[in-house]
């Protein structure tokens, strides 16, 4: 594995804080188009067997840039889980409201997350996935999100063809309406840690964590200490922010290989 594809300290800290990381792998020419054409032609949803229906999807998962991000965040022995799903948002279909996947029995440590692969360019009118960075450590029944529509800081995944969006399993997400005449394809994969880190699995600079806390540059922090301290993507209150800091630190120490 070429170390140049591993994430930096700052990128790992940003993932902890925001709950997502985008990779734009340089895939072989024509691969995205071929996958999109095959998805367009599918007349049923094969569920977990989507990788048997479209085996070229493995080329995306095996790309060094994709593997580099996975190793960085889930360790060298990460697992591609057997559940995967083709989300085809039909033309002229409505939005899907905010939700967290699964039940409200959550683990704030980074042990699993999703990879969302988009084989075509996604424009705002195509029904992009919309995420809310910074919500991944919240534990809220989906019913209690019914009063929310738009949330400051939400990010529509308006991305170019081939993008893989790694999103924390508990990140609040929804979908905008698809007002276009095109199907919006997304393949969702799940990844899981199988072994706790004994040391950092990314391009770690031992000196980076010792950068002093800089109150004057908290909005432009690029080192893990200051990112974990100051970043506040939702602009939440001090009470919530302090709680987030504690969870972030616990995650950082866990990924560094310290006992959580």
């Amino acid at each position: 594995m070429d170390d140049s594809f591993l994430l930096s300290d700052g990128e790992v800290a940003e993932f902890i804080v925001k709950g997502y990381h985008l990779v734009e792998p340089e895939l072989p020419a024509g691969l995205n188009e071929s996958i999109a054409d095959q998805l367009d032609a599918l007349d049923h949803n094969p569920g977990d067997a989507i990788t048997e229906a479209v085996p070229e999807l493995w080329q995306v998962l095996d790309h060094p840039q994709v593997k580099g991000a996975l190793i960085s965040l889930l360790g060298h022995e990460y697992e591609v889980q057997s559940h995967r799903h083709w989300h085809c948002k039909q033309p002229h279909s409505g939005h899907m409201n905010w939700h967290q996947d699964g039940l409200n029995n959550r683990d704030t440590l980074i042990n699993r997350f999703l990879g969302l692969y988009y084989p075509t360019d996604i424009t705002p009118d195509m029904g992009p996935t919309v995420i809310v960075p910074g919500t991944q450590f919240r534990n809220a029944p989906t019913d209690r999100m019914a009063h929310y529509t738009n949330i400051r800081g939400q990010v529509p995944l308006v991305v170019k063809a081939g993008t893989v969006a790694f999103t924390h399993y508990d990140l609040w997400h929804g979908t905008a309406a698809n007002r276009s005449d095109h199907k919006r394809h997304m393949i969702k994969f799940l990844f899981r840690r199988t072994k706790e880190n004994e040391q950092p699995s990314w391009n770690h600079d031992p000196e980076s964590k010792d950068k002093p806390t800089d109150w004057n540059a908290r909005d432009t922090a690029a080192d893990p200490n200051n990112i974990l301290n100051f970043s506040n993507p939702l602009q939440v209150s001090q009470s919530d922010h302090y709680k987030e800091r504690a969870i972030r630190r616990k995650n950082w120490d866990y990924l560094m290989g310290k006992t959580a």
Binding site: H95, N97, W98, A140, R144, H147, Y148, I151, R152, Q235
Partner: protein, 92 residues
Amino acid sequence: MSQPRQRLLYLHARTPSVFSDIIGLTQIEPTAGFRVEISAEALEWPYKTVHDALVDGWQIVQFPHLQAPFDDRELDVVGYEFILQKMEVVDG
């Protein structure tokens, strides 16, 4: 003669103070077929704070519940929910 109808505004603020910034906004008009939806476009909100909405004539009909058990570790929903209304004659 048309009767006033209840327009609703759900505001999720940073803190229970009406002066704190809004994190979430949902406005519901009492007209047939009205729907809200998540937007993929840049957000343009008419108010920055709950107080801005009060100045514009909205009335708070439910304040955020503050009797939740104190917990210094867990995080749940985003912001503090104010529900506001305007009773107005509307078309549609």
